[in-house]
């Protein structure tokens, strides 16, 4: 199926749904003798397959109570202890249940706020690990990467077989260098 066909099918579905809703509205209005321009409550008599979808609260309101089945009625709530209403009238407040624990989203939000508010990690005082300065070393490294990259592109274009043979070698040596890099500084060397 091409994307154009998919788009046409989607359009057809949308159009048929629109036409169907308009027809339902007109039919309901004709039955109720009302103006078809006004919104009409959803018809309940039709099969659910041909009924416009309703909002979630409406569906929840018409649902039977939790625990209901045809042979088992839900337990009625326990009556309040004697003297309860008297104490309520005097101003006593019943103990409230504890607040629910924070959900996952709230915990993540709290953690991220604390992390964002924390100051960024500072480098230790003292001489820089590189005498030339980090910025210049970074630029030198970038130029070194470019110096490696230009011949790599040339090889990839002119001799793909050689490139395929060199790439695992370069990856292995790069990984070895990355593993062997030391965390030392000038003081350690001196």
């Amino acid at each position: 199926m091409t994307p154009a066909q998919l788009a046409w099918i989607t359009l057809a579905i949308r159009a048929s749904r629109f036409l169907y809703l308009a027809a339902v509205r007109a039919l309901n209005a004709a039955q109720a003798g009302k103006d078809p321009g006004k919104p009409v409550p959803a018809s309940r008599g039709r099969s659910p397959w041909f009924r416009p979808s309703e909002s979630a609260p409406a569906r929840k309101a018409e649902r039977p109570p939790r625990g209901w089945f045809w042979f088992s009625r839900p337990e009625p709530p326990a009556p309040p202890p004697p003297g309860f209403w008297e104490r309520i009238r005097r101003g006593w407040q019943p103990p409230q249940p504890p607040p629910p624990p924070p959900g996952l989203a709230e915990r993540i939000r709290t953690w991220w706020r604390a992390r964002a508010a924390a100051p960024p990690p500072q480098r230790k005082a003292g001489p820089k690990p590189s005498a030339a300065g980090n910025g210049r070393m970074g630029t030198l490294g970038a130029f070194a990467v470019l110096l490696v990259w230009l011949p790599a592109v040339a090889v990839a274009v002119s001799a793909p077989e050689l490139f395929d043979r060199l790439l695992p070698l370069a990856a292995a040596s790069g990984g070895l260098l990355w593993l062997m890099r030391s965390g030392g500084s000038q003081e350690d060397d001196a």
Binding site: G135, G138, T139, G141, A142, F143, V145, L146, W149, A152, V153, A156, V157, S158, A159, P160, E161, F163, D164, L167
Partner: protein, 216 residues
């Protein structure tokens, strides 16, 4: 509509979009366009040299590895890669100053490390993570490490909408042409790509001749 927006919102809009699903999709599209364009350039170079090796499962990996310094170079020199420029995106530094070559290289390297260099099936997860991070205004990991941010520049004000639509159509045509030529070049033999390029050249020549005939 922007005339009704109160002060901070309006100002924030004028500075440019810094997050959201739209920016995430545009960034993904720009990156795909960059890879396709770089692959197309490699294909054109190899058509000149007569060697053709743009097939196989390792092609995305090789393309990502080779395209990283290329994209870093564009970012450092012009502030955006070709795909980002086409979609009006810019790479900005969080600190005052421009994004240097080292920062751009570190950014692209981090992008490779985050999974782009592992091939298409695993890069999908990286793209999903980056898209989610960008949607929630966090930015992908390579942006956070390099202290950069990608913004979507607002459209130039004061132009008639027709010109905006025309520009959008031209951008879309460029995107589609590059993607189409790149997919043609993924064929084991470069014949389809060569034929498409010859057709495009013939069309351009005809267009040029037509314009020349229209001129007095």
């Amino acid at each position: 509509m922007s005339g009704f927006l109160p002060w901070p919102w309006r100002r924030r809009r004028e500075e440019g979009l810094k997050g959201g699903p739209r920016l995430a999709l545009l960034r993904l599209l720009a990156r795909l366009f960059d890879y396709a364009l770089f692959g197309l350039l490699l294909m054109l170079a190899s058509m000149q040299s007569g060697r053709w090796a743009f097939t196989g499962v390792w092609l995305p990996v090789k393309l990502a590895l080779l395209a990283a310094p290329w994209m870093a170079l564009w970012t450092a020199l012009l502030g955006a890669t070709p795909g980002k420029m086409l979609l009006r995106l810019r790479v900005r530094s969080l600190e005052p100053g421009r994004v240097g070559l080292a920062a751009a290289m570190r950014r692209e390297g981090r992008c490779l490390l985050s999974g782009v260099a592992l091939g298409t099936p695993l890069a999908v997860f990286t793209a999903a993570m980056a898209g989610l991070a960008c949607t929630f205004h966090l930015g992908p990991v390579w942006d956070r490490r390099a202290r950069t941010r990608v913004v979507l520049l607002p459209a130039a004000a004061g132009w008639p909408p027709v010109l905006h639509w025309l520009g959008a159509a031209i951008r879309l045509a460029v995107l589609a042409a590059v993607f189409r030529l790149f997919t043609l070049g993924l064929d084991p033999r470069p014949d389809a790509l060569r034929a498409a390029l010859e057709t495009a050249a013939a069309r351009a020549a005809a267009l040029q001749a037509g314009w020349a005939a229209l001129l007095p």
